[in-house]
């Protein structure tokens, strides 16, 4: 706590230096007065110098970068961006961080302290600390942030590409990527071809099919049950057929209570997992052939749940926050999400335009299978499905 005024002063000096309000000598002097050690001063100066060297006129010449010259200049003048709930290992954010630093050279803060925050913690941080500029939250939290006045409106340059259900009409949030429920199949252990939900009832799959946790608690398995509804006569408005299907799986002895965690998928304990495609694809890569794992999207359809990006209403660096939006919805960053196996929100646009590299497409289930995937963004439908599941699931496990 005692360090806070010092940090504030360093911030102040750094911004002044980055914005060229003070020169290097004044900057060094200011830092020295704070009683910092020489290595610490060198670190701060090095970090700020890279930001300070690119002048607004230089930025204007980089016309091919996402964001207007004015926005880039304003963001650079702010000196840094503070992010909450955006960890480097999640959906290839590291690649996007690298792109951001390469394009704009603006330091990213908050990753080490708040990178692993859950959506709820992110909103708390925005509300209580006032530090974050941007956050990556589950869809229901994005809606909640708007209701509580925690987010600021901004419509990025790709707004027209984004499906109507995946953005707030007033620009208070916008979905950035999504995952869909998929079958993650251990092809060494499973001898039949699994393409659709009904295939899971095959008698050869005793104790083989698993979901990722307790659906009344975990989002992943909740969507597994709900997706089963899509393939069995129900859908986004009616989860009951999904519950009935799970009950049928349970009665047939095919449903195992072993959780479809990565460990259980890799060890062969769960031979057919119903879970998010990006988790399954990561499992496949981790297994690297031991065992062989195939990931497919159920032919009759499944559901996808998106994440959304929000700008904090009281963002200390509002222009950097807007520039971040410009970057993450750009072609380059959207393809980086896909490389991290999260489907970017502009996936269809990129796919139609033939912008998805063939080697990347080869690692994913085919784009045709994703045509039957429905994006779930309506909070009232989510709540309704959860309520139905709450009572229905007791019957599945207790009967």
């Amino acid at each position: 706590m005692a360090n806070d005024p010092m940090l504030a002063r360093i911030d102040e000096l750094s911004s002044a230096f980055t914005a060229r309000q003070i020169d290097r000598r004044q900057f060094l002097k200011g830092l020295a007065v704070l009683g910092l050690s020489l290595p610490a001063i060198n670190l701060i100066v090095a970090a700020c110098s890279s930001a300070a060297t690119a002048s607004p006129s230089a930025a204007a010449s980089m016309a091919n970068l996402p964001g207007t010259a004015a926005l880039i200049a304003a963001a650079k003048a702010e000196g840094s961006i503070y992010q909450t709930g955006i960890p480097p290992e999640w959906v290839n954010y590291q690649g996007i961080f690298d792109l951001w630093k390469q394009d704009y050279g603006i330091p990213i803060n908050g990753t080490s302290t708040e990178g692993e925050y859950s959506s709820g913690q992110e909103l708390d941080s925005i509300k209580n600390t006032g530090k974050p500029d941007v956050g990556d939250v589950g869809i229901s939290f994005a809606v909640q942030a708007k209701q509580q006045g925690l987010s600021a409106p901004y419509k990025n340059s790709y707004w027209a590409d984004i499906p109507g259900t995946a953005k707030d009409a007033d620009g208070y949030w916008c979905c950035n990527y999504w995952g869909a429920q998929a079958f993650v199949i251990n092809t060494d252990a499973v001898k039949i071809t699994i393409k659709d939900w009904k295939d899971l009832l095959d008698p050869s799959l005793k104790n083989a099919v698993g979901i990722d946790g307790d659906p009344t608690k975990a989002n992943d398995s909740f969507f597994a049950v709900w997706s089963a509804a899509v393939g069995n006569g129900g859908g986004i408005d009616n989860i009951q057929p999904g519950i009935d299907f799970m009950n049928q799986l349970q009665q047939s002895g095919n449903l195992t209570a072993a959780r479809a965690s990565s460990a259980n998928v890799l060890s062969g304990e769960v031979k057919v997992a119903i879970k998010w495609d990006y988790l399954g694809l990561a499992d496949r890569d981790t297994a690297a052939g031991a065992p062989n794992i195939a990931v497919t999207i159920p032919a009759s359809g499944s559901l996808a749940s998106p994440y959304a990006d929000i700008i904090a209403a009281k963002a200390p660096h509002p222009n950097a926050a807007k520039l971040w939006q410009e970057l993450i919805y750009s072609d380059a960053a959207q393809l980086l999400f896909l490389k991290g196996y999260a489907h970017p929100i502009r996936y269809d646009v990129l796919n139609t335009a033939g912008k998805i590299p063939a080697d990347l497409a080869a690692k994913l289930p085919s784009a045709d299978l994703y045509k039957n995937v429905t994006l779930v963004t309506d909070i009232t439908k989510i709540t309704a499905a959860q309520t139905t599941l709450g009572t229905g699931w007791t019957i599945v496990i207790n009967s």
Partner: protein, 298 residues
């Protein structure tokens, strides 16, 4: 710190009273502990179980589960699981404890006791994973048995079931039985046996008329401890089955931290049901303890 009345230990006339006062003072930490961690939570459970979680109105609706067959399934599963693991753990544990005592080898006794203390406390998620790796559908032992022609899964065994959980629970119930039965077994005096033999008793008569009556109470009280221990266990079962085998502690947890089934009032009511069963077990054990301590005091 200048309170002479408290420090006046030598005050002869008030000695008896001040000793009583000091005894009360010495009891204070314990009383505070009991109040904070037993009485207050119990009172809040009872209060919560009779109030509606949403409106706060007085209600009996939280106890409606007592009349719904489906809602009693967790109790049935918990009772079955606890009973089965108690019987398995009790019999095997007792035999091992007797073997340890009879060995008269101090190194064996030392090792067995140490291992038992460790194993009795090895539970939760690590134990669940150990069992998945051993007895899961693709576990090592399952595969070895399959290799020698025995398919335990097609034979009806499933690790993620009441039967499977019984085996897992036995992992700590057996060593717990060993630990609690060692003291009474060691306290059996050789002279009792010698006296019986001198009077012409056979080995069976000694067991029936001397050893078993004396040991009966510690055995039953140990079994009750095992039973209560199994009934309250949560982490292992949850780690293994993610709630697919519904047990009372898992049901309570669903009601207090599930996003979907949030109803703390009903959780309180279930917890009262659990507490009643636990109280009966522990109360019965305390009663029996009092009877047997008469014989086994050293």
């Amino acid at each position: 710190m200048s309170s002479p009345a408290v420090w006046n230990i030598a005050g002869a006339p008030s000695a008896a009273r001040s000793r009583g006062g000091r005894a009360a003072l010495a009891l204070f930490p314990f009383a505070a502990l009991i109040t904070a961690f037993l009485l207050v939570p119990t009172a809040s459970l009872i209060w919560g179980s009779f109030h509606d979680s949403k409106t706060g109105a007085l209600t009996f609706a939280n106890y409606a589960y007592l009349s719904h067959p489906l809602d009693l399934v967790p109790f049935r599963n918990s009772l079955e699981l606890s009973l089965a693991s108690t019987i398995l753990g009790g019999i095997v544990g007792l035999l091992i404890a007797q073997a340890i005592v009879s060995s008269h080898n101090s190194i064996v006794q030392e090792i067995a006791t140490t291992f038992s203390s460790v194993a009795a406390n090895f539970a939760g998620v690590p134990l669940a994973f150990a069992f998945i790796a051993t007895l899961g559908a693709n576990g090592l032992l399952t595969r070895v048995l399959l290799g020698s022609g025995i398919d335990i899964y097609s034979g009806g065994f499933k690790l993620y079931s009441v039967l499977g959980l019984t085996v897992v629970y036995a992992y700590w119930e057996i060593p717990l039985m060993v630990l609690v039965m060692l003291p009474p077994l060691q306290a059996m005096k050789a002279s009792w046996r010698e006296a019986a033999e001198i009077l012409g008793a056979s080995r069976w008569q000694y067991l029936r008329s001397v050893a078993i009556p004396i040991l009966m109470t510690p055995i039953i009280s140990s079994l009750l401890l095992l039973y209560a221990n199994a009934f309250g266990a949560y982490a292992t079962a949850y780690g293994l089955t993610t709630g697919f085998v519904s047990l009372v502690p898992i049901q309570i947890s669903n009601l207090i931290n599930g996003d979907i089934t949030y109803d703390p009032g009903q959780a309180d009511a279930l917890a009262i049901g659990l507490a009643v069963i636990m109280a009966v077990c522990i109360g019965a054990r305390a009663l029996l303890e009092r009877r047997s301590s008469r014989w086994l005091s050293r």
